[in-house]
């Protein structure tokens, strides 16, 4: 086992090699400023046995030091590198005075190794060492993090790469891991406490009178009246934001400028992981086109773009090919434009490129209120509405007109499935949710360059299970923004909810309906689901986490092929902690448990 103890040797080698590495205690070598890339001789942790220790550490960013929960003393945690086909053996020792755990995010494994206390196992008690062991049956970019309390928000996360057993279909000359995250000197429980008392606590971009008079808010008085009538905030984009967060790249704040090296002409693979607690990022590298080759660890047909949005817990691998001898800035801008994570790609250390300023704060629209169907109707009128006309249905305009009525009730229980509780925890039921998978993500609608949308993703390999779904299931993502309550189908997990049940190997078409005006990155453990994008048949993109845009719906096909109990939740940690969590059961178990 190569471990963190070999850092110094590798570091010296790096220095001898003239790469200009300098020591940054508290960071794994791959995350240090001036990374030359992930080379085999850099101290990543790999098989057959990996030892991890969870403990308390100081963490310094922006000249200030706070208290972090770390793995092997570093933030982010060490890079774990496995190979498809091996058996992973990872021992985790808990030196905290509370339970801990590690969930291997996106990794397919037996349910009792999934690392969710209370679902897959009892958790790791103080002083205890837990041995994870599972066969590695996939490859790609993944990550790992605590699933206990809010430890993940305090630094307990790191990257996990699995190399393919055979040749990698993605060709590249060098790779860097880009772990994006958000750090606050406020304890996450303090953050949640403030949100409970004042849900707009962290928002310093709300609509104001001066913004109305100057036109800076970009809203008419009438629009503002409508939002006020509903007691909703059109600027509630991120619950927690740059007013408390420092956004990090590999544990570095923007001023510390993590730098990844390249030689001009090289194909550089960036493995971007959003390990944030609460932050969605828009990622771009001004001057460089990015070719997306992998999403959530699964290869996709290469698609070139200039900017992509990465929601919490998602991963994207992109290939960039800088040909000039110059530096490039990697910008990961928080979706509410309250701050950014920044890094540099450069041929040599010490080089920097211009850092673009934060762009304008986005404002929510009618579509974010679940009234998306209206524009959707226009779309369909342009699409198969024409077909109707062509088929001689005499009155093609009639149906869209009915739908286009403004008479939307924003909280009509009739728009919810029968099993949903439309009570205190539900301040809205989307009256006409639109499928927005083909739309540019929030804030990037008018970006003057290419932007990745979910419908651009096409699985490289054919989908393994191409049976049509035998059952449809609708799950509503619900909340009450004013009380900071979140749940599924109107219930918090703490209310002792019925699990979401699947039959083993059942093929189900699940539609998530977002009844809130916030985005929710929904993560299903133990499975990949296929986003129903309407793309090439049999190549639906596989995801472990999908961002459900405000007031929208997302449909995925799931083959429930992993028997056991699995967590299913919003990966906004505060939303999860406030109740947006449930257990998925897959039965029968037969032979599941080893």
């Amino acid at each position: 086992m190569r471990s963190i103890q070999t850092d110094r040797r590798a570091l010296l080698r790096g220095l001898a090699g003239g790469a200009g590495l300098f020591a940054a205690p508290g960071l794994p070598a791959w995350a240090r400023s001036g990374s030359a890339g992930l080379r085999a001789d850099l101290p990543t942790l790999d098989g057959p046995d990996v030892r991890l220790t969870v403990g308390h550490s100081p963490f310094t960013v922006g000249g200030r030091t706070g208290h972090a929960i770390t793995v092997n003393g570093t933030l982010p945690a060490p890079l774990i590198r496995l190979r498809e086909g091996q058996t992973a053996r990872l021992s985790v020792t808990n030196t905290l005075d509370e339970d801990t755990s590690i969930h291997w995010h996106g990794v397919l494994l037996p349910f009792h190794m999934d690392g969710v206390p209370g679902v897959s196992f009892p958790g790791i008690r103080p002083g205890e060492t837990f041995h994870y062991e599972f066969p590695v049956i996939q490859s790609g970019t993944f990550w790992y993090h605590s699933h206990s309390n809010l430890q993940e928000a305090m630094g307990h996360y790191g990257p996990l790469l699995i190399d393919p057993a055979g040749a990698d279909p993605v060709a590249y000359d060098r790779e860097h891991v880009i772990v994006l995250s958000d750090w606050s000197f406020l304890h996450p429980h303090e953050i949640l406490d403030r949100l409970k008392k004042s849900p707009g606590y962290f928002n310093r971009s709300r609509t104001t009178l001066s913004g109305l008079l100057s036109g800076e808010d970009g809203m008419s008085l009438e629009e503002r009246r409508m939002w006020g009538q509903m007691r909703m905030d059109p600027r509630d984009i991120a619950d927690v934001n740059g007013t408390t967060y420092t956004y990090l790249v590999n544990g570095h704040g923007p001023a510390e400028n993590w730098t990844g090296l390249f030689r001009p002409g090289e194909r550089v693979r960036l493995r971007v992981i959003n390990a944030s607690a609460m932050s969605i990022f828009n990622v771009r590298i001004p001057g460089l086109a990015m070719t997306v080759v992998n999403a959530d660890g699964e290869n996709v047909r290469p698609v070139e773009t200039d900017e992509f949005q990465i929601s919490v817990a998602e991963t994207y691998d992109v290939i960039v090919r800088p040909t000039e001898d110059r530096a490039y800035t990697l910008v990961a801008e928080s979706v509410d434009r309250s701050g950014m994570a920044r890094a540099t790609l450069a041929p040599r250390m010490g080089m920097t490129a211009e850092v673009p300023p934060l762009r304008e704060v986005p404002t929510l629209t009618m579509r974010d209120m679940g009234m998306g169907g209206m524009a959707g109707m226009d779309h369909s009128a342009m699409g198969h509405g024409v077909d109707h006309a062509g088929a001689g249905h005499g009155e093609p305009a009639a149906a869209p007109m009915d739908h286009g009525s403004m008479d939307h009730d924003m909280r009509n229980p009739d728009n919810a499935p029968a099993g949903m509780a439309v009570g205190v925890g539900v301040d809205m039921v989307s009256p006409d949710p639109a499928n927005r998978l083909g739309e540019r993500p929030m804030g990037l609608e008018d970006a003057p360059h290419r932007v990745l949308v979910y419908t651009d993703l096409v699985a490289l390999a054919p989908n393994k299970d191409q049976r049509p779904p035998s059952r449809a299931l609708e799950i509503h993502l619900t909340g009450n923004m004013e009380r900071f309550m979140w749940g599924f189908d109107g219930r918090k997990f703490s209310e002792i909810v019925e699990p979401i049940r699947f039959e083993r190997d059942e093929r189900v078409r699940v539609t998530l309906v977002n009844d809130t005006m916030m985005a929710h990155p929904i993560h299903l453990h133990g499975h990949f689901f296929e986003l129903v994008t309407g793309g090439p048949a049999g190549h639906q993109p596989l995801k472990h986490t999908v961002n459900v845009a405000p007031g929208s719906k997302v449909t995925f096909d799931l083959t429930a092929d992993a028997p056991g109990d699995w967590a299913f939740h919003c990966h906004m940690l505060m939303h999860m902690h406030a109740g947006m969590f449930n257990v998925v059961t897959v039965r029968p178990l037969d032979g599941a448990a080893s």
């Binding site: 196992f121 779309h379 499928n435 449809a472 299931l473």
Partner: protein, 331 residues
């Protein structure tokens, strides 16, 4: 009786607004099912037995290779009336309730499950709120006011306490303290019930039963309305509302109104029947932090009807205009 009704008016008004806003729903608008068949539609006549097959809602349309967006899979909103979801296959209900029990033991898993449940939704908090802590200046006379509150509990059930008092700097003080059970009844409204103890008000400083409604009205008005039934059998009521107009992100203008009423003459408290007192204030605060905001403002108040007569008879002025300097804070 009419007076009693007047007393109940603020509460009823707010209650009416609350229910109207939160529960009113328009009759289900008839939607044309033409565009999208409901998911549950078994496509009777097709030869695909159990499959609801929403896979391609455009099936049958001539799409001729045209670039399509994602399919518009129908949901409950397309099929109003709270449709039932298709039943679970029986095998999904087979096997143990908790898969991990067989591997790690039910004992340890039970404890972990309990923790998991608490960590995913059962958030408790405790707040202390200084809504107004201010000094007032009225024709050279100085007075002070406190308006404090706090709560502790979860999302639905909370314990609230509230206290308002005013006095001068010569030791005069009159006020009240309330202890309330509060229950959320709709997304924006809590119903509150409990007791109120007066102090320094003359008479026997009655104790009251309290029934109130507190919450957020449309257009972001914070509303607190309550009726009080005293140990003397007197029924009174109070309605308060305040609104935050952000001028900038930190500079906030807050209009505030308060109206009080009594169902009967209560001479020992100096109250006449009907509307007894009205206050209207305007406070400009600066949020140094969200939870710490000093302010300046002006407040006009007037005793009404018989109450004004009682006030005059006691040698007081029924109408006051005060300039105030104070602090709004919470933690």
């Amino acid at each position: 009786m009419i007076r009693l009704l007047i007393c109940m008016v603020p509460l009823l008004l707010v209650a009416g607004a609350a229910t109207a806003q939160d529960h009113e729903h328009h009759p289900p608008t008839a939607r044309t099912p033409a565009t999208a068949p409901p998911a549950a539609d078994p496509h009777a006549g097709h030869d695909m037995s159990p499959a609801p097959e929403p896979a391609d809602p455009h099936a049958g349309h001539d799409m001729g290779g045209q670039a399509m967006g994602p399919p518009d899979v129908p949901t409950s909103a397309d099929d109003q009336g709270r449709p039932r979801q298709p039943p679970l296959p029986p095998a999904a209900l087979s096997g143990p309730a908790h898969a991990a029990d067989a591997i790690w033991g039910a004992d340890r898993m039970t404890g972990a499950r309990d923790l998991l449940r608490r960590e995913n939704g059962d958030v408790r908090a405790t707040a202390f709120i200084i809504d107004r802590l201010e000094v007032g200046f009225d024709d050279g006379r100085e007075s002070w006011t406190w308006d404090l509150a706090g709560w502790t509990g979860g999302d639905i059930n909370r314990f609230w306490w509230k206290s308002e008092a005013e006095g001068d700097f010569d030791g005069e003080i009159e006020g009240e303290v309330q202890a309330l059970y509060s229950r959320a009844i709709s997304p924006f409204w809590d119903v509150q019930a409990g007791v109120r103890q007066d102090f320094g008000k003359g008479g026997d400083n009655p104790t009251h039963l309290v029934l109130g409604l507190q919450g957020l009205a449309p257009y972001w008005w914070e509303v607190d309305a309550a009726t009080f039934l005293s140990t003397e059998g007197d029924l009174t009521a109070r309605f308060e509302a305040e609104y935050d107009q952000r001028i900038t992100q930190r500079l906030i203008l807050q209009p505030r109104i308060e109206v009080e009423a009594s169902a009967s003459d209560i001479p020992e408290l100096g109250l006449g029947s009907g509307l007894t007192h009205v206050e209207a204030g305007l406070r400009l605060r600066y949020e140094i932090a969200k939870e710490f905001a000093p302010y300046v403002g002006v407040e006009w108040s007037r005793d009404l009807g018989g109450t004004a007569d009682f006030t005059r008879a006691a040698g007081g002025e029924p109408e006051h205009t005060r300039f105030v300097i104070g602090l709004k804070a919470w933690f």
